[in-house]
C-alpha cells in the first residue's frame, strides 16, 4: 500500500502543472494538497508494530530492484513528518508564489520531491532507496535554482547538487558493499539479524562511505556550506527541503544503520566529533548573520549537528532524545521559515537590522512566531524544552561531561539565534524606512500557526499515541527496547538547572550582538581557508583543467587532429605487436598473377599521381584510381558486395570532393620542410603499422568460431543466402544501427558546419 503511494506521488507530480493551469492557482494547489494529506492520514492509520517489509512490485527484477517498503516506527514517523509538513508547504506555496508564472513547474518539483523523500524513508530495497535519494538531490537542485534567471541561484543549486551528488556516489558504493556482504538488497533483512562481518576492512569501508553520504546530505561540517547557499530557493522550499525534511535524510540514514554499526570503534566517535563540530560551527556562524533566512539556515546546520551528536552519544536515551528533538525541530524550524517567508513577502526585506516593530502590525503572527522561537530556545513548557531536557539527560547519564558542556554552550547560542530571528523583527523599535505592502493572507499564517499550536500542545499534553510512535522509532534505531516519557516536569534535577543556565547564556549572547558582528567582520579576511573556498577552488580548478586540455587537444586545426589520432593509432598498434609473443609475420609469400600485378601497378600509379601533382583535381582523380583498383581487388578475391560498395563510394566521393574544391582557397604549398618530413614519417608509419597488423592477423592460426557459425546459420536462422548482408542487418544489426546513427549525426553536423561557414566566411 505505502509503496504504491510513493509511486503514485510521481504521477501526481507529473499532473501538477496541468492541475494548476486548468483548476486554477487557488484551487489547483488545494487539490494537490490532497495527496500529502491523504498520505499523512494513511501513515497515521498504519500499524507500525512489529516492523515488517511490504513488497509492492518488481521494478527491474534482473538487478533485484523492487518497490518494497520497510514499515516501522522510524520510517512511519518520517513519512508522517514529510507528508504533514508537506501539506502545509503546498498550501503556503500557493499564497507565496501565487503570481509566479511557473507555479505549475514549482508544484511538479515539490510534489516530485515529496514522493522521492517518502521513497527514501520508506524504502526497504537499497537500490530503491538510492534512486530516491538521488532524486531528492535533483529536485533540490531544481528547486534551489527555481529562479533560474538569477546567476546566484544557479550557482547555489549547482553547489548543492555537486556536494550531495558526491555523497550519493559514496552511498551507492556503500550499498553495493552491503549487498556483497549480506547477499540481499533488502534493508529489512540486513537489519533484522545479528551479523559478523567477514572482513573488517569491508566494514570500515562501508562505514566511511555511509558517513560521507550522510554528512554531505545533512550538511555536516565540513560540508555545511551548501545549506546556507541553498537559501536562494523560494522560502517554502527552504522550510520544507532545507529544514524539515531533505537535510534530515542523512540523519535518517545514520540512525537506520546505527543498530548495525554502533559497536564499531569508528562509528560513535565519528558521529560525536562530526556532529559536535557541526553543532558549534553552525550556531557560531549564525550569530553575525543579518539575513533572516541565513540566520535560520545556520541554526538548522547546528540542529542537524545536534542530531548527529546525539546519535554519537549512542545510549538508548540519546536515541530517544534524537527522535524527539528531530520532531520538535521540524515543527519549530519549519514554522520559523514560514515566518521568514511572510516577513520577506510582506515587507520586501529579510534584513533583521532593517526590520522592527512588526508585533504591533501583526499581533496574531507575532504570537505564533514567538511561540515557535521560544520552542527553539527551549523554554518551558514548549515541545522544544521537552526535547532539550531529554537530550541533556541522555548526555548527563552517559557521563560525558565535556560533551554535555559543549551541548549546553551550543544550545545557548541557539537561544540567542532564536532571539535574533524573531525578537528583533517583532519587538525592536519600529523603523520608518520599512514599507509594509499588505497584511499576510490567512493561507500564509495557517501553516506556522498549526506548527506553533502543535509545539504547545505536545509540550503540555503529549498524546499517548504520539509518544508511542516516538518510542517505537527510538526502539528501531537504538536496536533495543527503548522507553520514552514525554513530559514537561521532571522534578528538581541538575538537568533543569542546566536548562535555566542555557537560557541565561542565550540572553548574554543575545545582548553581545555587536561583538559577534565585529568579530565576523574581522574574520572575513580568513574566508579563503574555509571549506566553501575549497569547493570553489576545486570547481574552478576542474574548469581550468578542462579548458587547458581543450586548448591543447581540441585546437580546431584538422591537421593537428589527424596527427594526434593517427600517431595514437600507430603507437597502440606497435605496442600491441611488441607485447605479442611468437613470430608474427609467418605468412607465405606467393607470386602474383599478371592481372593482379596490373591492378597493383594501377593502385601505385594513382597514389603517385595524388602525391606528386600540384592540382587538386588531379589529386582527386588519382585517389579515385587507387580506390577503383582496390575495388577490383575485392572483386578478384570474391567479395562482390564490398566491390560494389567501393565503386559506388569512390564515384560519390569524387563528386563530393569536386563540390568541396570550389570552396577551398587556392592550392599552394605552405608547409615548411620540417612539417613535410613529419607528415611523411607519420604517413609511412601509419601505412606500415596497418600493413603489419593485417599481415599479423592473417598469420594468426586460431580458427574463427564466428565465420563458420554465420555461414551455417545464415539460411536456416536468418532466411538469407547473402551472408555479408545477413550479418549487417540481422546478426550484427546493433552495430549497423550504431553506424547509421553516426552517419545521420554526421549529416546534421555537416549542415551545422556549412551554416557556420556561411557566417564566418
Amino acid at each position: 500500500m505505502l509503496a504504491v503511494t510513493v509511486a503514485f506521488g510521481f504521477v501526481v507530480a507529473l499532473l501538477a502543472p496541468w492541475c494548476v493551469r486548468h483548476v486554477g492557482t487557488v484551487w489547483g494547489p488545494r487539490l494537490l494538497a490532497a495527496y500529502p494529506l491523504s498520505v499523512f492520514f494513511l501513515t497515521l492509520a498504519t500499524d507500525y508494530e512489529p516492523a515488517r517489509v511490504q513488497s509492492a512490485f518488481d521494478w527491474v527484477p534482473r538487478f533485484g530492484l523492487r518497490w518494497s517498503v520497510l514499515v516501522d516506527g522510524w520510517s512511519i514517523l518520517f513519512a508522517a513528518l514529510i507528508s504533514g509538513i508537506g501539506a502545509l508547504v503546498v498550501l503556503y506555496g500557493a499564497a507565496y508564489l501565487r503570481h509566479h508564472e511557473h507555479l505549475g513547474r514549482f508544484y511538479l518539483y515539490l510534489i516530485g520531491f515529496m514522493a522521492a523523500m517518502l521513497g527514501v524513508v520508506l524504502a526497504s530495497n537499497l537500490l530503491l532507496l538510492f534512486v530516491c535519494w538521488e532524486l531528492t538531490s535533483i529536485f533540490s537542485y531544481l528547486l534551489i535554482g527555481f529562479d533560474h534567471e538569477d546567476a546566484k541561484s544557479r550557482k547555489s543549486a549547482l553547489q548543492a547538487l555537486l556536494t550531495t551528488g558526491v555523497g550519493g556516489l559514496a552511498l551507492v558504493v556503500a550499498f553495493v558493499l552491503l549487498r556483497a556482504e549480506f547477499g540481499t538488497w533488502e534493508l529489512g533483512e540486513i537489519l533484522g539479524r545479528p551479523f559478523e562481518w567477514s572482513n573488517p576492512g569491508l566494514e570500515l569501508g562501508t562505514i566511511v562511505l555511509l558517513l560521507a553520504a550522510a554528512f554531505t546530505k545533512s550538511a555536516q561540517f565540513p560540508f555545511h556550506f551548501w545549506l546556507p547557499s541553498a537559501m536562494a530557493a523560494p522560502t517554502p522550499v527552504s522550510a520544507y527541503l532545507h529544514s524539515a525534511t531533505m537535510v534530515k535524510a542523512g540523519v535518517f540514514l545514520l540512525a537506520r544503520f546505527h543498530p548495525l554499526f554502533h559497536e564499531h570503534w569508528l562509528w560513535q566517535p565519528a558521529l560525536l566529533v562530526g556532529g559536535g563540530a557541526t553543532m558549534f560551527v553552525g550556531a557560531a556562524l549564525a550569530l553575525p548573520q543579518r539575513d533572516l533566512k541565513l540566520l535560520l539556515a545556520y541554526s538548522t546546520v547546528s540542529a542537524l549537528g545536534t542530531l548527529v551528536f546525539l546519535l554519537g552519544v549512542g545510549n538508548s536515551e540519546a536515541m530517544a532524545a534524537c527522535v524527539v528533538f528531530l520532531v520538535a525541530h521540524a515543527l519549530y524550524k519549519g514554522g520559523l521559515f514560514f515566518f521568514a517567508g511572510i516577513v520577506d513577502h510582506e515587507t520586501g526585506t529579510r534584513d533583521i537590522e532593517e526590520l522592527g516593530g512588526l508585533a504591533r502590525q501583526w499581533p496574531a503572527l507575532a504570537t505564533v512566531a514567538s511561540v515557535l522561537a521560544l520552542s527553539m530556545a527551549g523554554v518551558m513548557p514548549l515541545f522544544g524544552f521537552v526535547a532539550k531536557e531529554l537530550a541533556y539527560e541522555a548526555v548527563f547519564h552517559a557521563t560525558l561531561p565535556v560533551a554535555l558542556a559543549w551541548l549546553v554552550v551550543c544550545s545557548g547560542l541557539q537561544v540567542a539565534v532564536a532571539g535574533f530571528a524573531v525578537g528583533r523583527p517583532l519587538f525592536s523599535r519600529p523603523r520608518a524606512t520599512l514599507a509594509i505592502h499588505h497584511a499576510p493572507e490567512w493561507e500564509l499564517v495557517v501553516g506556522p500557526a498549526l506548527l506553533a499550536g502543535l509545539s504547545v500542545l505536545i509540550g503540555l499534553w503529549p498524546a499517548e499515541g504520539f509518544s508511542h510512535l516516538l518510542a517505537a522509532a527510538a526502539t528501531n534505531i537504538a536496536g533495543q527496547s527503548t522507553e520514552l516519557k514525554l513530559g514537561v516536569w521532571h522534578g528538581w534535577t541538575p538537568v533543569l538547572a542546566l536548562s535555566f543556565g542555557t537560557v541565561l547564556l542565550g540572553v548574554v549572547v543575545f545582548a553581545l550582538r555587536p561583538l559577534w558582528c565585529g568579530m565576523a567582520e574581522r574574520a572575513t579576511g580568513w574566508k579563503f581557508v574555509g571549506p566553501a573556498s575549497l569547493y570553489e577552488a576545486s570547481v574552478a580548478g576542474l574548469a581550468r583543467l578542462a579548458a587547458w586540455q581543450t586548448r591543447t587537444l581540441q585546437t580546431g586545426k584538422l591537421r593537428q587532429y589527424q596527427v594526434l589520432v593517427l600517431s595514437t593509432a600507430v603507437a597502440s598498434v606497435l605496442l600491441a605487436l611488441a607485447l605479442t609473443e611468437g613470430d608474427l609475420l609467418r605468412f607465405g609469400w606467393k607470386a602474383f598473377s599478371p592481372t593482379e600485378g596490373a591492378v597493383i601497378v594501377a593502385m601505385l600509379a594513382g597514389m603517385a599521381i595524388t602525391i606528386g601533382t600540384s592540382s587538386r583535381l588531379t589529386a582527386i582523380a588519382g585517389l579515385g584510381v587507387t580506390g577503383y583498383a582496390v575495388g577490383i581487388f575485392f572483386l578478384m578475391f570474391g567479395a562482390p558486395d564490398l566491390a560494389m560498395t567501393q565503386f559506388a563510394i569512390e564515384t560519390l566521393t569524387v563528386v563530393l570532393f569536386v563540390l568541396v574544391l570550389y570552396r577551398l582557397p587556392r592550392f599552394e604549398s605552405r608547409s615548411t620542410a620540417a612539417t613535410r618530413v613529419r607528415d611523411f614519417a607519420l604517413a609511412t608509419a601509419v601505412g606500415a603499422s596497418v600493413g603489419i597488423l593485417v599481415l599479423a592477423l592473417l598469420a594468426d592460426p586460431t580458427p574463427s568460431a564466428l565465420a563458420p557459425y554465420f555461414l551455417a546459420q545464415s539460411e536456416p536462422a536468418a532466411h538469407g543466402r547473402n551472408v555479408v548482408n545477413v550479418i549487417l542487418v540481422d546478426f550484427r544489426s546493433l552495430d549497423t544501427l550504431g553506424e547509421i546513427t553516426v552517419l545521420g549525426l554526421a549529416a546534421v553536423g555537416v549542415g551545422t558546419l556549412m551554416a557556420m561557414w556561411g557566417k564566418y566566411r
Binding site: P640, D641, M644, T645, A648, I649, T651, L652, V655, L656, L659, V660, Y662, R663, A718, H719, G720, R721, N722, V724, N725, V726, L728, V729, D730, S733, L734, T736, L737, I740, T741, L743, G744, A746, A747, V748, V750, G751, M754
Partner: protein, 133 residues
C-alpha cells in the same frame, strides 16, 4: 553549361538507376547488394540528375527534405527492432512472417530499408549543402 547528351542520357538513366537501387536493396538478402549500396546508387542517381539539370532543378524535384529521409531511415531501423522486443525476445531479433503473394517478409528487410533511406538522405543532404550553382 548544359550538355544535351548528358541531359538526354540522364532522363533515361535516372529512373533506371533508381529502379536498380531498389533492386539492389531487395535482392541484397540473398545475393550481392543491400541497403547501403542501394542507397549509394540512388544518391548517385540524384547527383547525375543535378549534373545534367542543375542543382536547382534537382532540389525542386526532390520534394522530401533530405534530413527527413535520414530521420525516417533511422526510425525504420529503430522501429524494426521493436517487433522482436514486443514478442519477448531481445531488441532487434529478426521476426519473419510468410505473406501470401510476396513470400517471406521479415524485420531485417525493414532494417535494410532504413539503412537505404538514411544513406540516400545523408548523401543528398550533403550534396544539396555543398552544391552551389
Amino acid at each position: 553549361m548544359r550538355s544535351l547528351i548528358l541531359l538526354t542520357a540522364s532522363r533515361l538513366l535516372f529512373p533506371l538507376l533508381l529502379l536498380f537501387s531498389a533492386f539492389l536493396l531487395f535482392r541484397g538478402h540473398n545475393a550481392p547488394g543491400g541497403g547501403f549500396v542501394g542507397g549509394l546508387v540512388a544518391a548517385a542517381a540524384v547527383a547525375l540528375h543535378a549534373l545534367a539539370h542543375g542543382i536547382n532543378a534537382t532540389q525542386r524535384m526532390v520534394v522530401v527534405t533530405p534530413l527527413k529521409l535520414v530521420a525516417a531511415g533511422l526510425g525504420c531501423a529503430l522501429g524494426s527492432g521493436l517487433f522482436g522486443w514486443f514478442s519477448q525476445q531481445p531488441y532487434l531479433t529478426g521476426v519473419w512472417v510468410s505473406l501470401p503473394l510476396l513470400g517471406k517478409a521479415g524485420t531485417p528487410v525493414l532494417f535494410d530499408v532504413g539503412v537505404y533511406l538514411l544513406v540516400v538522405g545523408m548523401v543528398t543532404h550533403v550534396l544539396f549543402l555543398l552544391w552551389e550553382e
